[in-house]
Symmetry: C2
């Protein structure tokens, strides 16, 4: 067993989480085998169990890694003093950027978290719900400031934004050629300006 002071352990464990993320993203939790994960980081199958006590634990760590930092971003955005449009744009940017930076872990969180044991899953679910709630509040505040129309269902709107980001995130992970900033720009544009031809110019950028 490792001891404090041996920092190779933490480095390798992080590598294991990233390797697991990549393999789970490609083959799914049940489709992936521990051999794939181990080989991706250049060790043998059995050695992986020096870093995880089970395959489930690997999934659990990947999922946590996947969201912890875009949840943190939302905390910052939500607390800041910006216009509704700026907050919405920041949310989209942070969410989509996470798909690139976090090495598939966010995709794994979305697609495979339901295979976690109940206890772990509900802890992660809290984080996810909190994220959605904060986005919902951004919409509520937008209503108060007059940026968002009265008739908007804010719960629904938050869900829709997250769904749209995840759909695009999927494509971002699958296709490394895809220009992240182009996608961010288009998503933001769509959310702020909508599909429809409008004659007033108040909310264009």
């Amino acid at each position: 067993m490792h001891k404090a002071g041996a920092e190779k352990y933490t480095r390798q464990r992080q590598a294991a989480i990233r390797a697991a993320a990549a393999v789970f993203a490609e083959k799914g939790f049940h489709g992936a085998c521990t051999k794939d994960i181990a080989e991706r980081m250049g060790i043998k199958q059995g050695s992986l169990y020096y870093y995880f006590k089970s395959k489930q634990e690997a999934l659990s760590e990947v999922c946590l890694f996947g969201i912890q930092d875009y949840v943190q971003h939302m905390e910052d955005i939500s607390g800041s003093e910006q216009s509704f449009e700026a907050k919405l744009a920041a949310t989209v940017t942070s969410h989509l950027s996470s798909y690139r930076e976090r090495n598939e872990a966010l995709k794994v969180y979305n697609d495979e978290r339901l295979y976690l044991p109940e206890a772990k899953r509900s802890r992660l679910k809290e984080l996810g719900s909190h994220y959605r709630q904060q986005l919902e509040e951004i919409f509520e505040d937008g209503k108060k400031s007059g940026a968002v129309r009265e008739s908007m269902d804010c719960h629904f709107a938050a869900q829709a934004v997250i769904g749209m980001c995840n759909a695009w995130g999927d494509l971002i992970v699958r296709d490394p050629e895809l220009d992240l900033f182009r996608v961010i720009h288009k998503c933001t544009d769509l959310l702020i300006n909508g599909f429809i031809q409008q004659t007033n110019t108040t909310n264009r950028n």
Copy 2:
């Protein structure tokens, strides 16, 4: 082996496809086992192979079942003479309704089709691409008629609509309490009216 004239076979095979859809939707293709599928339709594991030659074939049939009919709907919508708004609303309605009617098969198509062998997958992919293309054309036509703003990226818009419908479809499948028509209405409203407060009233319903 069965023979023509024995219509129990086709009835049971359809039941097998629905059972497989439910199980694959819940546990994923690799997480599901043929025992689960068989038991759900009240037969034993081995008997399932009277209807499928492999687990892969079951997946293949489920995926096909999942899309064939909403792809067909799009064909009708695309060919019809309606306003942009009406076509968009019809698309959302058809897409989301499929999630309820088709017994989880559409969800399986979205989440598990990448585990199909290449040959099958590319045949299904064609259907999916065709669907997106037709939606894209609806947007292009909308531009020509002035309903959609010039600056809209139609390819992107189509992708976004599909992504949003799929995100909501997931929730519809997961939660049978969720009111389908409420979701359809809200999605349509969001797509047509957008998030933002507008001063002109041209495109409200």
